[in-house]
């Protein structure tokens, strides 16, 4: 199973890792006593660990390869995918759905306000993930500045309330539309270009928006931000803090359901298929009369629309916005959600959002290592499960030969 070359390569890999981690893991400087501590035992751990990891990966890979070979040769039948069964068997998924639904409905009654607040945040990221999923997962446009549209939404509520006294419900669609218009403005020149340019330009755009918000004091009140943004009103009835959080929670649940509904409809519509097809084969799409730029622009603007609406909700939830909430890190997290969840898969994005947002909240002890874990998880996913937690169903057809 393991050949000599594998072992040789493994040794090289572990040597390389020892070299890379040497300053971090072995040398420790004590500046007070001015002595250097050589922690040699750490080196052995790194060497041994990376060697074993490498071997494990190799074994996994060869096993997978031989399996695929066997399937090709018809020696063994491909097992129907577990998740595929789970998702397509109503006997399994309906009760799961019911339990999950009840859990989420009863959540504010069962848990404290603090927990409810965290859950609201997680649900916001679910919607953000589903929005970005239209752009990245379905249409295949790498948008690294998604947070900019989120910021546009948040600031449109803050500013429209400050200057014109508009309320949450009026601004909710306005914020979405404003974000979408920004998306169109940005996308129009860029979407004609190749994919990688889009990534760079959106990355820059995200930073530009943040810098404008930070530095244009007269417009956005600079780094100190805007406070006293009202929470959503409930038919003019005044709500206490706890009640308004519960209210916001249910609003968010409705928003998630609405988003799932719309995204689901979109994906199975003609335009949804056009997004998907455009990612696969531009020439064929052009031959079918699909306007490349317009189609991509629709996806881009729709994704931005959702970010804008969640931005409004964000401003209403925290009652305060400042530019620090809209850094590149936010874009990265939302992108992680989409990639981890499985590009284009709604269920996957929901699960990934809940995991990525809730886990760090409950594992505060590890908060220092949060980014490290994010990075590691992403790398591991790319190696072992590039299709994401839940692969897009489209890609899981089983091949059957009839003739």
């Amino acid at each position: 199973m393991i050949s000599l070359t594998d072992i040789k390569k493994g040794l090289l890999v572990s040597l390389w890792f020892v070299f890379l981690t040497f300053p971090l893991m072995v040398i420790k400087i004590n500046p007070i006593d001015k002595v250097i501590l050589w922690r040699w035992s750490n080196m052995y751990w790194v060497a041994g660990g990376s060697f074993l990891c490498y071997l494990a990966m190799q074994i996994y890979k060869t096993r997978k390869l031989t399996r695929q070979e066997h399937i090709k040769q018809g020696l063994i039948k491909e097992k129907p995918k577990m998740q595929f069964k789970l998702l397509s068997d109503p006997k399994i998924y309906l009760p799961t759905l019911a339990v999950a639904g009840l859990f989420f409905l009863a959540f504010p009654l069962l848990f404290s306000t603090y927990q409810t607040n965290i859950m609201i945040t997680a649900l916001m990221y679910v919607v953000l993930g589903l929005g970005l999923n239209i752009v990245v997962g379905v249409a295949g446009l790498l948008d690294l500045g998604y947070v900019a549209f989120y910021a546009v939404g948040a600031y449109s509520y803050a500013l429209l309330h400050l200057h014109f006294g508009l309320g949450f419900w009026e601004v909710l669609p306005i914020g979405g539309l404003l974000a979408a218009s920004f998306g169109i403005l940005l996308g129009f020149p860029v979407l004609r270009l190749r994919g990688d340019y889009l990534a760079i330009v959106t990355l820059g755009f995200g930073e530009i928006i943040r810098l404008i918000l930070e530095n244009w004091n007269e417009f956005s009140h600079g780094p100190s931000g805007i406070s006293n943004i009202p929470r959503p009103g409930f038919f003019g009835i005044h709500l206490g803090l706890e009640q308004s959080i519960t209210y916001l929670y249910y609003l968010m649940i409705l928003m998630v359901i609405f988003t799932i509904f719309v995204v689901n409809r979109l994906q199975s519509s003609r335009i949804g298929r056009a997004w998907f097809a455009l990612r696969e084969d531009e020439i064929a799409c052009q031959a079918m009369g699909i306007d490349k730029t317009k189609t991509k622009l629709t996806a881009f603007a729709l994704g931005a629309f959702w970010a804008g609406m969640v931005g409004v909700i964000f401003a209403a939830k925290t009652t305060f916005v400042n530019p620090a909430s809209f850094t590149f890190l936010e874009s990265a997290i939302i992108l992680c959600i989409v990639v981890l969840g499985g590009m284009g898969s709604i269920i996957g994005v929901i699960i990934a959002a809940l995991i990525l947002i809730l886990l760090p909240e409950y594992l505060r002890a590890f908060s220092d290592y949060r980014m490290l874990v994010f990075g590691a998880v992403l790398v591991i996913m790319m190696v072992f499960r590039p299709q994401g937690i839940v692969a897009n169903i489209r890609r899981t057809y089983t091949v059957q030969k009839n003739d």
């Binding site: 097809a277 064929a284 031959a287 079918m288 009369g289 699909i290 306007d291 059957q400």
Partner: protein, 235 residues
């Protein structure tokens, strides 16, 4: 119906078409033959607006269409089946066909056209819920042609439909092409390397050599021409 007036098409600095002029009359099957790399596909791409010509004029039903975007050209009634088929492998057969009707809103007639296509290619009906990538080469070609038909083109551009297919399958595809031409009065612009077959189904033919039209005549005349026989028919 279609007229190209000395078009010049470039890929970057490289000129692929030199002063190509040709015309297609309504209802006929016309073929463009030539060796690999002669510029046949480029000619179709120029007509479709996917690789627009740098100079020259293209008229469709007496109206100039050069400079229009590909979707506008499809909307006018010109649809291309690109070389190598380019079906969507992850979409089902039915979804592939629906993509062909992307610009159409007339649900009723789309339904009728779908029935017509399923009658034309019963195999597609059997496989309508399978992904396009699972079809065999010949079935994929049928799907590609059908998908283009779903756009209800007046002019159908076919780029090497015989490519990579067994002779028997090729013959069947060519029969269908003739049938489409007869039954719907769809004008057909057929690009082929397989000159023998193409000239047999076509009314007229053009010969393209390194981006230039070198000959055009009735298909039967070309088929009998000695130079053509030597160069393209391997006789």
């Amino acid at each position: 119906m279609l007229e190209l007036k000395s078009i010049n098409t470039y890929y970057g600095n490289i000129q692929a078409l030199h002063d190509v002029s040709l015309n297609v009359k309504e209802g006929e099957i016309i073929t463009l033959i030539g060796a690999n790399g002669a510029g046949k596909s480029t000619t179709l791409m120029s007509i479709s607006g996917i690789v627009p010509p740098r100079t020259g004029e293209i008229f469709f039903k007496r109206k100039p269409i050069q400079g229009l975007s590909p979707d506008k050209i499809v909307a006018l009634g010109i649809c291309q089946v690109p070389e190598g088929r380019h079906i969507f492998p992850d979409l089902t057969v039915a979804e592939n066909l629906d993509m062909g009707a992307f610009l159409r809103k007339d649900k009723q007639q789309i339904e009728e056209d779908l029935e017509y296509i399923y009658a034309l290619f019963p195999i597609l009906k059997n496989r309508r819920s399978q992904p396009g990538g699972n079809l065999s080469g010949g079935e994929q070609q049928m799907l590609a042609i059908s998908r283009a038909l779903m756009a209800r083109p007046q002019l159908l551009l076919l780029d090497e439909p015989s490519m990579g297919l067994a002779p028997l399958v090729t013959r069947r595809i060519f029969e269908i092409i003739k049938k489409i031409n007869r039954e719907n009065n769809t004008t057909i612009f057929l690009v082929e390397q397989n000159a023998n077959l193409a000239l047999k189904v076509a009314d007229r033919g053009y010969v393209l050599e390194t981006g230039r039209i070198t000959m055009h005549d009735k298909a039967s005349t070309l088929l009998a021409d000695e130079d053509i026989q030597k160069a393209y028919l391997g006789i």
